[in-house]
Amino acid sequence: MADTLSVAWADAWIRGAQAVLAEHRMELIDLDRAIGDGDHGENMDRGFKAVVAKLDEGGIDDVQGVLKLVASTLMSKVGGAAGPLYGTAFLRAAKAAEGDLDANGVVAVIEGALDGIVSRGKATTGEKTMVDAWTPALEAAKAVAASGGTAAEALRAAADAAAAGAEATIPLQATKGRASYLGERSIGHKDPGATSTAYILEEAAKAAEAA
């Protein structure tokens, strides 16, 4: 396992995310139909397919470049709330990514992504949104970095925490976004944005473990 994560990791991460989002397209559509407008699975699938098509053109030589490409593509290709939210997340993550990433670099990237989502969506924890996956992910990565863990260990902790965070949205009542119009009827459903966040971070961890 490499000490730091390079452009090869970023490329493998995003390709892995594309595959897993394609695989879970219907699940995300169903989750979003239950409490939203039902476009999340379709949008994430289309968006990441467009990203991979651009990665195939080549010419990107650092982590920051990959993250910027994801940001600009999702921003322009994804029509739902996920476009501006994930677009801004990857844009801020790109700004935080300097060179190859060690554990502190992983923390900076996740922190950038969370800051981007919070500033764009004006959401906080407990509102049944993707913030409920990114926030525990950041805390878990920080704890690993502080105890001297590797970049891959930080991403593994972040991915596991994001998955737990997504599960923990099930009993919450949505108070942000269109799901909030459902009031108490939003209780009992897993948030689609938190779910896609968990899938994306799981692929980041897998790619790091294979690097």
């Binding site: 029509g79 501006p84 764009r120």
Partner: protein
């Protein structure tokens, strides 16, 4: 400098309908619809909004943008984030109800209101007082 409006809706038809309605009382105001995704689905498009704003700025207008729902607003805010500080003073988001706001903003632009006046009208505060 005259103020033009960009109407951003998840629905292409709704954006066009709001433009049609607002134009009735504002014959000389330039109104652009930016509704739906690039491929005609329900949603909003960064590129459609950005293209509308760019065309209006090139024609010399200040631009007020109105939206229908939260994720349309996030798309607009993403477009605004890419403007430099000087441009950002000429292109702004009017945070109000889409139909009433667009009519009020268009009428205000028609009678020569500047961007601040059009934005204030677009918020349609009197509806909530």
């Amino acid at each position: 400098m005259s103020v033009a409006l960009v109407i951003v809706s998840h629905s292409e038809k709704l954006a066009e309908g709001v433009v049609e309605l607002a134009a009735q009382m504002a014959k000389d105001v330039v109104l652009k619809a930016a509704g739906g995704t690039d491929d005609g689905r329900i949603g909003t498009s960064f590129e459609k909004v950005n293209d509308a704003v760019t065309a209006l700025r090139e024609a010399g207008h200040d631009v007020a943008i109105l939206t229908d729902l939260g994720s349309a607003t996030m798309t607009v805010e993403s477009v605004l984030d890419f403007l430099d500080d000087e441009e950002a003073t000429h292109v702004r988001f009017a945070d109000g109800p889409l139909v009433e706001g667009a009519v009020a903003a268009a009428v205000t632009a028609q009678v020569g209101g500047d961007l601040d006046a059009v934005l204030a009208a677009g918020r349609a505060r009197e509806l909530f007082s």
